[in-house]
Every structure is written in C-alpha cells, then in structure tokens.
Amino acid sequence: MPEPLALYVHWPFCLSRCPYCDFNSHVRERIDERRFRAALLADLAWEAGRLGPRPLASIFFGGGTPSLMSPETVAALIEAATRAFPPATPPEITLEANPTSVEAAKLAGFRAAGVNRISLGIQALDDSALAFLGRRHSAAQALAALETARALFPRASFDLIYARPGQTRAAWRAELRRALAFGLDHLSLYQLTIEPGTPFARLHDRGELVLPGEDAQAALYRATEEEAARAGLAPYEVSNYAAPGAESRHNLAYWRYLDYAGIGPGAHGRIMVGGRLTATARVRAPEAWAEAVERRGHGVREEEELSAAARAREALLMGLRLAEGIDPARFLARTGVALADALDPAALAAAEAEGLVARTTAGGIATTRAGRLRLDALLPRLVR
C-alpha cells in the first residue's frame, strides 16, 4: 500500500508584513488570483503526475495569508487534490486564516469548499499587544472571527505569541486563561522569536526591543504548560497543545518525518520517489515561481536525494520535538538507520541521567519536558 500523503499549499500574499514575521510572504497592490490559482493547480498536477496515486491524509493551506484566497480557488485545489490522491478516510483540511472582518466573512465559503479545520492567527487578546505586533485586527474582531469559525468548522485552533517584551508571568497566565476559556481542543502557543532580517531584529539589535531573559522565558513556558494542562490540553509538541485526538494530523506528519508534498512559492517537501527520500524546494519569489510553472509545468527549484545521515538527523530534530518521541521501527523504515546508531551513546546516557531524555514503551526515545525546553542545545550533542 503506497504511503499516505500530506499536502502543503502555500499562498504567499499578506495585506501587510508583521514586523516579527520571516515567512515567505509578500505584499502586492493587486494579486492576479486567476494566474496564481492556475499555477497552483499546475504545480499540483505535476506533483501528482510523478508521485502517482496515494491516499491523501491531509491538506494544509498556509502562508502568507491563505484566507486572502477566494473560496473558489480553495475549492478548486481541494477538488484537484482529492482527485489526484483519493483519500482512504476523510482527510484533515486546514486553512490558516487571519481574523480580520473581511476574512471572517469568507469563512463560510471556505467551509463549503471542503475545509474542515481552521487555524486563526489571533496572536494576542490585548489591543496594545496586537498593535505592537503590527496586526491589522483588534482583539474584539479576532474573537468575533473565532465565534464564526467555531460555529462553522468541526475543528478550530488559534495561535498566540507570548514572551513579548515586558510581559509578566501573571499577565500571560491571565491572557492564556481567557484563551483557554473558549474551550477549544487545540492551541498553538509560540514564544516570540526574533528572526534575522525582520524589523523586530533591527529593534532588538539596537536594544530597543528587549525580550524576557532566558530564565523568564523558561518560567513562562512552564506557566503555559500548567495553564494548558488545567484546561485538558497537553503539549504534544514544543509549541502545540491539544486534547487527546485533537492534534493537527498534518503537522504531525512533519514531526513524525512522514511524506509530505509542498506546492506553491517556497514550499518544501519530503517525498519518497522511486524508493528514495527526496527533499524538494520550490522557487521562493511568487512571480518567479508562477513563471517557472508556466514555462515548465512545475515550480521546483531544487531537489536533493537525502543521505542516510541527513535523513536520520532530520528525523531526530523533528521527532524529538514531540512528546510521544520517536518510534524506532518507523525511524528505521524512514531513514534506513537504526535509532540507536543515529545517537551518540555517551551523550544519550548523560541526557538520560540528567532527565532530559527518556525511553518510550515502544523502545524509542522521547525528550522530557526539561529536555524539550533545551532541545537546541541537546541536539548537537545527541546527534551523531
């Protein structure tokens, strides 16, 4: 039976750039939606041609701001994807939406197009924080969008950004409690990251934007876990919290290092082609990508067959983000390397002794909460 497939579709446009964001997003006065829809469909068709039929497990419309697409475009893409990759069971179809009033008005259309899970970029529940983050919506608008979304979609989640400058633990707990009180079964809670090249990075370099210190960030993280746990949400990944069974299946495919195809500008994929695990990357700039598709039928910029060592490293750096850890059988099947051989035994023993890593019942390994919080320091030692 062929591998199930997770499909990522990138929509590269936003109404404005948020000062913290380094995603592949672009602001255009006018977007030629017909052209980009046609190009996405062509990119998808090309990918389907070489992958052959596989059961579609999930689709994720990410961005940029995919809620700027028209529901018709979304419908056409879902239709094409399910035709090319007939699902065995109903696929999870997520769309990232920005909670402005314009976009909220389109939610019903997205639902009708087949989207069954919505992920709202609320970011903060406080208007001054939203202004600081450069968002184009108020807290009230965001909550209104949330109400609409919940009424329409069987599954909904939203994103918050915390560990903002000056944010105290008490203030964050209060904000988070309000967020949890909506009773959703999934939230993505990210600590603010200064990404190089962004306006925030320039402020940060000049000392005009000061993040909470390392210890304060750790305390904020623990507070987040406590509050989420109280609402029945477990941290199944570093920044993702869900009730049992409500995890994002699409995102789990990344962390479990399963097959995913990425279409659209700058999209990445990890796909098994002819028994070889291949990393794919598409042209990043939107117009250049569209031209590439129009000229040669696909937007691929680069493909690389991954070595066993590279596969093992990738599977580790993704898998150790998950609370469930790494399954040894799946690891061997995907990478061709036994889990034990991919790790430095002395570093593993030390990390276990320090309570950073633990064995799983399946004979694999998982990071503990303490280990997950320090994963970037742990990985270079652990990985061979």
Binding site: Q217, A218, G262, R374, L378, P380
Partner: protein, 601 residues
C-alpha cells in the same frame, strides 16, 4: 648597481619608540628616491603584514634599497631598515643594527624621549653605530623641538644641536634626512677579494621559492650558481638567485661587500637556516665566522594546542616556518592531560604571544588553544637539584621543593608628572621596589625592580590605562630571587584543567583565583548541566563560581519548510563543537582559554 663602491653605500636602521613615525619616515624616503610609483604608495607601505596594517604597528623589520643622487654629485646606494618600536620585538631591532653602520634615531617632538627611545639608542651605541637624531612631527602644534633636544642631550647624552627637524607626515625636510645619511653616517667596510662572509639577518618561507634569506655581505660576493655553506650547521646549498628589495623583490647579478639583499638557494629544510649564522663560499671558506647574534631568551611561555587534534602535524610544520621568520620565538613539544599533544612556546612578551597566535591562525589557517602564560621559575629541590619550570602543570609536589625563585626585571618607566602617583601605586601593588626616580622637565623617569610574573599578565594595559596612554615602559631581565609562590589549580566540575593552572605569589593567589573564576563564568556559555568552577591551592578551594544550567533553548516554530535549514544549522553546530574542548561533560570554547588569561588582576 652591483658594483657600487663602498664609499657610495650607506646602511642604516630607523629606530624609535613606538609610533614616533619610523615607518612614515621610511615612506617619505622611499618616495623621495622614487622607489615606488605614486600608485604603488600607501601609508606605512613597509608594514605589509595584515596584522601590522590592522594594528598600525610594525612587527617585522623591513629592508629597502634606495638610490639617492646627493648634493655632492654622487649617487648613493642606501639600504634602509625600518624596525619595530615595541619592546616585544626588540630582537628584530638588534639584528637590523648588526647589518648597518648607522641609525636614524627618530623622536616624536611632541612626546619626547620615551622608554624604547632609550632602550633602542643604547643598543645602537653598543652596536658601534653613528647616530643621527631626527625630530619628527614638528608639524604638530604640541611639538616642542627645543625642549626635546635638551632632553636628548640630558637623558641620552647625545649631541642634538644638529638634529634634523622634520615632519614625516607632511614631507617637510626629508631632503635634510637624506643629506644627513650620506654626510654623517659612515660607509661600510669590506674586502671584495676576501672569502665570502655574509651575515644571515632574517629568513622566511615562500611557497614558491622555498626559504628566502636576508643577508648583509661583509666580504667577498654572493652570486647565482655559487656553492655556499652555512658555517654553524654545515649545510651546503647552491645559490639560485640574489636580489634586493625596492621594496619589491628585484633580482640583481650579485651582492658585494657592504650590501644588503636576499638570496634563495632552493632550501626546503627550514632547520638549515639560523639567523646570525655566517654564509661563506663552500670551496673558498672564511676562516672565522662572524660573531652572530646573542640568542633571544624568551621570558613568557605558554602551551599552544591545536583545537582539532588532527592538526598536530600541521601545527608542527607551521611552527617551524614561523620560527624561520621570527627568531625570537621558541618552541618544544609537550603534552597536556586536558589538551593532548601540543607545544610549549616561548615569547618575548604578551604582545609577541598574541601576535604569534594570530599569525598561526591567519597565515597557516590553524585553530589554537593557548594555556595561561608563565614565566620561568627555578625550583630548588630538597635534594639540591634545580629545575627550570616553564609550565605550571609540571610543578613538582610541595614535599620535594626546598624553595622557588622567580625572575625579576628592571623596568624603566617614563611618565608625565600628573600620572606619577598612579604609576607608583601600580608598581607597589605589583611588589615593585623603587630603584631610581628622576625628573626631566615635567616628565618623571622611574626605575623599578619588579617580579616578571607581575608584569606578564596585564601590567602593560594597566600602565596605559592609569596614565591615559602617556606612560612608556621598557624592561630588562634582572636576576632571580626567592619568593613565596603557590600553584593555583582550576577545577571544572571537580576535574583539574591543567591548561588553566598558574603560579602566583601567595599574597595575590586569592585575588587571582577569584578573578579567573569570575572570568570563566562569563566566558563559558550556559550548558545543559550546572557547572562548578573552582580555584584551589593544593586541596584548599580559594574561589568558586557556579554557572547555572541552561534553562531554555528551543526553536519555537518548526514546520515542514524549516527542516533543511535546521539540519544544516545542526551540522554547523556539530562542526563548531570541534572548536570546543570537552572536560568531562563540560565544553569550554577555545576563546575562553585565551581571554581568561587576559583578565585584570
């Protein structure tokens, strides 16, 4: 050009205190004689090493041949040697002096006589030089040529009435310098018919030419095809080329008596070349070698280890090549429990140490770890034997030590009145003993005896900071004396790191121990585990710091698009781990070793 009669040759060194303008004067002389085109010219053109240009100081002496049509109607061949001013490179100066008959003593007319002015002029007098004082920077509003002339006469005892007044920067009176060179400095002597005798002044390694040798011919000639012999090693080679520096390397037919130039002889064995050796003709050898040079005696030692153990052989080759170009640098193999195989290296001072490390890293692309610098102690054992201790890690057990002696220096410090108090306090803090204190105008000259150990760490930096840069300093070794010294061991999570151990006077031990622990706390990044840093004397802990464990270090967002980037980052971090030394579970970045040594006591 090659047949210049002796009376038309002048060989001279330019000597001065640091920054008094030697290299800038060399620029003007080169320009005045048209040796370089305007396009080829740049400031301090002879400071050709990258480090020299970055730091604005001369490290290596450089030679240039100039052709000067003098007012007396003759055309002279001038061989100019620009020398460094810093005390750590004094060996460059002494070798240059041996190749010349005269010196231009450059004195900054706004600063006056400084410590290295004195030190260098005494060396020149000892070398039998004729000396022409040159007052530089008279363009500066603060210049006081008359006061400085008096100072030269009072402090050095050199007549300064006809000192040449110039501005090397603006080019004022460069003609006066050139005329003084031909009229006041003596020509060389030598016998073209006698067996060849040439002094090996300097050498360096060139990837294409092999070893290049700078020579001063005393008697006879050197020419292509000649079989030459190095009198001390006995090695025989055939001259492949002879040439001069203009300052570009330009081949000439031969080098005759009184001339300075280079030879190449296809030499690949670096060990065949020793500065100070005499080169003679293999078939018609000279009876006696030239006196050569006094060997340089390193005053500071430290261990140098490759960060990547695989680079040990490369380090060995690189040291040999560097030594060829830096005769004041010494090295011998050693091993360290913490750092593996490396070399114990001797230097003339801390700046010298720093420069050598930097040259090794840049010119030979090596990553190095340096251990704490140490002076040479004399350990008198209870059985009456004496050992010279270059490495604190080799300190024998206290029970077999009768007593320890440490080296002392005699330091000469020039400082404006206003800062004298601060300087005296500094010297007293460092266990100094005042020998002399005199005044020349509003400047004081303090002579102190100080333990060298108190000077190698950060004395020079402190001297400069307490005097706002106005004090100058020179020193000479001044015997050994018994002292109450202890070895301080640094422990990281309970394991001694031999590379960080050092020796200090008992009265300073605690302060030093605390300082290094604090510094290491700053320099070692937080890690997955708590780290205890301790300083101990024997079993007794005298200072302690704790680096708490890393509390959070994880990327918040990581999805499908980030995998490649994250993997590459991970691979880079793993590569970066090679630049860390592992002590038990603890990783110490290489920068911590060097920086910990530069701490303020």
């Amino acid at each position: 050009m090659t047949d210049t009669p002796l009376h038309l040759i002048r060989n001279f060194s330019i000597i001065a205190h640091i920054d008094h303008g030697k290299s800038t004067l060399a620029d003007r002389l080169i320009q005045a004689c048209g040796a370089l085109s305007e396009r080829e010219m740049k400031d301090q053109v002879l400071d050709s090493m990258e480090i020299e240009r970055e730091r604005g100081i001369t490290i290596k002496a450089q030679t240039v041949r100039l052709i000067y049509p003098a007012k007396d109607g003759n055309t002279y061949e001038l061989n100019l040697m620009d020398t460094p001013g810093h005390v750590d490179f004094a060996y460059e100066v002494s070798r240059s002096l041996a190749a010349c008959e005269g010196s231009l003593l450059v004195v900054d007319a706004s600063q006056g006589v400084e410590a290295q002015t004195l030190a260098n002029v005494y060396q020149a007098i000892e070398a039998g030089h004729e000396i022409v004082p040159v007052l530089n920077k008279i363009d500066l509003p603060a210049a006081e040529p008359d006061r400085v002339k008096t100072q030269i006469e009072d402090v050095i005892g050199l007549p300064a009435d006809d000192a040449v007044m110039i501005s090397a920067k603006t080019g004022l009176n460069i003609e006066g310098v050139l005329e003084a060179i031909v009229t006041r400095l003596p020509p060389p002597q030598g016998d073209a018919a006698a067996p060849t005798k040439a002094l090996l002044v300097d050498s360096w390694y060139d990837a294409y030419l092999g070893v290049v040798i700078l020579v001063r011919v005393k008697d006879g000639r050197l020419r292509k095809g000649q079989r030459i012999r190095f009198m001390s090693t006995g090695a025989v080679h055939t001259v492949e080329a002879t040439g001069i520096f203009t300052p570009k390397m330009v081949p000439v037919e031969d080098l005759g008596p009184g001339e300075i130039g280079y030879i190449t002889a296809g030499i690949k064995t670096v060990a065949d070349c020793k500065v100070g050796d005499t080169i003679t003709d293999d078939r018609n050898p000279a009876a006696e070698p030239l006196p050569g040079f006094k060997p340089s005696v390193p005053v500071v030692w430290c261990g140098l280890y490759p960060t990547d153990a695989d680079d040990f052989e490369k380090l060995r080759e690189s040291l040999a090549k560097l030594r060829l170009n830096d005769a004041s640098f010494h090295y011998e193999p050693e091993t360290s429990a913490a750092l593996g195989f490396g070399f114990r290296c001797g230097f003339l001072g801390l700046l010298h140490l720093e420069i050598v490390q930097e040259r090794l890293m840049r010119e030979f692309d090596l990553d190095l770890i340096a251990t704490a610098p140490s002076v040479v102690y004399r350990i008198h054992r209870t059985d009456g034997t004496v050992m010279e201790l270059h490495n604190p890690a080799d300190m024998p057990d206290g029970s077999v030590i009768d007593h320890i002696e440490e080296p002392w220096i005699k330091a000469t410090i020039f400082v404006p009145d206003d800062y004298l108090g601060a300087i005296l306090t500094l010297c007293n803090e460092r266990r100094g003993q005042q020998v002399d204190l005199t005044y020349v105008g509003n400047r004081a000259m303090a002579v102190y005896r100080l333990p060298l150990n108190e000077v190698v760490f950060d004395f020079y930096d402190r001297l400069k900071s307490v005097s706002r840069g106005y004090a100058s300093f020179d020193y000479a070794m001044d015997g050994y004396a018994e002292a109450d010294l202890v070895k301080i061991t640094i422990l990281v999570n309970g394991d001694p790191v031999d590379a960080l151990s050092f020796i200090a006077h008992r009265s300073q031990a605690e302060k030093r121990g605390r300082a290094i622990c604090e510094k290491l706390k700053e320099l070692i990044p937080r890690q997955l585990f708590k780290i205890a840093i301790q300083a101990a004397i024997g079993g007794r802990v005298i200072a302690r710091e704790t680096i708490s464990a890393l509390s959070k270090d994880v990327t918040a967002k990581c999805y499908g698009g980030d995998i490649t980037r994250k993997r590459k980052l991970l691979e880079k971090q793993k590569e970066g781990k090679k630049r860390m030394r592992q002590f038990g579970k603890v990783e110490i970045p290489q920068t911590a070793f060097l920086a910990a040594l530069k701490m303020d006591a």
